[in-house]
Symmetry: C2
Subunit: 344 residues, 2 copies
């Protein structure tokens, strides 16, 4: 490819040119004690001049840390590319990494459990220093696996469990409260929740809280499970909106932006006015929600900030911190045009 020889600059080169030991160069470069201020200065200058960057492999091998974290996403490509959820999340992670000079090893697998092998391999290979985990499952197999290998990890989840992994916990009750209060103020009494797959802990937590808190407010709550996909959202909505008038919901809380968009379209096809005859809320905001007509009321969960917090927590754990749980901030309801007074 290239005619120029890519001459590697190593700490040996720097040591030789400065006539000091490699150890001193290393100490100077890493800001460790053990060198005089003057020596440190000279090393830093020469390193800069030669635009020296340490071999990541050598550092990783010697110090047994790679400076990189891993994220493995096991989701249907179709949904994931449409949702924007993960892209925002990745951006948040990257913002942190850009400052901390860490890096991200990313793997997108299908949803057939191939992910677990990737975790095992990366951990064994010491390719990463730790993982951020999403989409917690019941008896999630990743947790015992990674714990047994001594791999630090942070689960971004809705459940607070004392299992000694890091957890960034989404305060779902607060979200549920915001949503229900919003609908309550509009006088809605019959509310349906179209969730994502109940195999995800966070969906179960949301469904449970929604049911409990809705009933506490005297609402009639109904829950149906969706898959996050467009078709599934459309189908569930059609089912709900063709129920007998007296049990038909006047408001829909929909698990993601795609299904919420589907719900909106389906209402349109059934000639049901939104928000006149039906209110719709999307659990996650995105361009889809902005661009829909009427624009969809949605929760902004501050995904980038959340991801940044998760990354920070993981780096602390890797650094030896022992306080692994943290609460992520409450989101904001973006009240747009798809919610209004109850009709019946």
């Amino acid at each position: 490819m290239s005619s120029t020889r890519p001459e590697r600059v190593t700490i040996s080169d720097i040591a030789r040119r400065l006539d000091i030991s490699k150890a001193s160069v290393s100490y100077a470069l890493n800001g460790r004690p053990g060198v005089s201020a003057e020596t440190r200065q000279r090393v830093l200058e020469l390193a800069d001049e030669l635009s020296f960057h340490p071999s990541s492999a050598a550092v990783a091998l010697a110090a047994s840390r790679s400076g990189t974290i891993g994220i493995v996403i096991a989701r249907d490509p179709k949904v994931i590319t449409a949702e924007g959820f993960y892209m925002r999340t990745l951006f948040g992670v990257e913002q942190y990494l850009n400052e901390a000079d860490g890096s991200l090893l990313l793997r997108l697998t299908g949803e057939n459990g191939e992910d677990i092998d990737v975790y095992r391999r990366w951990a064994r290979q010491r390719r990463v220093d730790g993982f951020i985990l999403y989409d917690e499952l019941d008896d999630d197999p990743r947790i015992p696996l990674l714990v047994s290998m001594g791999m630090p990890c942070v689960m971004v989840t809705s459940r607070d469990l004392d299992d000694h992994i890091g957890r960034l916990i989404t305060p779902e009750l607060e979200t549920v409260t915001v949503l229900l209060d919003h609908l309550n103020a509009f006088g809605h009494r019959r509310i349906a929740h179209i969730s994502g797959p109940m195999s995800y802990i966070h969906e179960r937590v949301r469904a449970d809280l929604l049911t409990r808190e809705g009933r506490r407010r005297g609402m009639r709550m109904r829950h149906v499970e969706g898959s996050y996909g467009y078709e599934s959202g459309a189908e569930r909505t059609r089912h709900l909106l063709t129920l007998p008038a007296r049990s038909r919901p006047t408001a829909l809380i929909v698990g993601n932006d795609i299904m919420a968009t589907a719900a909106l379209r389906t209402a349109g096809e059934l000639a049901i006015d939104v928000p006149g005859a039906l209110s719709i809320i999307a659990w996650d905001d995105s361009v889809l929600c902005e661009v829909a007509r009427p624009r969809l009321t949605a929760m902004d969960h501050g995904l980038m900030e959340k991801a940044r917090l998760a990354t920070d927590l993981l780096f602390r754990l890797i650094g030896g911190d022992t306080e692994p749980h943290r609460l992520s901030p409450v989101g904001t309801l973006l009240v747009r045009d798809s919610t209004g007074p109850a009709s019946s």
Copy 2:
């Protein structure tokens, strides 16, 4: 975090237990000649039993290849999270990587040129074996930088240049032909192109080809530059649709899905019927196009397949291949509801 000691298994362990040399273990594991079939077999079995995975750092250091490729995306987070372009692309890369057992180091930077530092650092650190580059610029600074460091790279681009880096070239002429023929068949004579930033080579190539090929067909072509963002798409559309009737376009070719959605909305606001009075084509397909009403006619460029090809090409280059240019397949026009016969 964990109470269990994560006992590393190394090739020394395997060598000791089998009473052979580390070299033999290495040869056996890597499928190299130099060991008897029987020894190889025993090594493989024991490795499997101990679920041995070589330290990636040690391999990288000794063999000076990391098995990972780098992608640095320098784009506005807002656009990137909405577009779905990159998420599809990443999925294509990952599909290849899942099979080739490679990995992806990903960095999302802003668009202020911070990316170049990341390229330099990763190359110097030998963190990656090569890069896939997107969004080629005029006199793109990444090319001389990476070439001078002997870093293999593949530019996914629209321009065929003989500069000895890998290039996966999109056949833009074919796309332009498909789009114009489609509009031509509907009798459109006045066509406007809302492009992305002209600083990108691919946008320039498209604008030039569109102008040339349109004129060759006797069409009146007009080009305006957008930013890929929603507002920009809306603003440009408003401008075009409020031109005097005789120069007002009857069809819009819009540089991405977001701006196309904006164009559709804006037409709606101006009470211009789509496709009755105006046809709209999106350059890139996405859920946004599917979900819009009317559904947007759009090009499906087979982004996943393209990304897979790019990754394959890069791996070949890393492996020493010397045929760095390749054509990516032509896309398909998804004819939906936003295009129809010209009105005037």
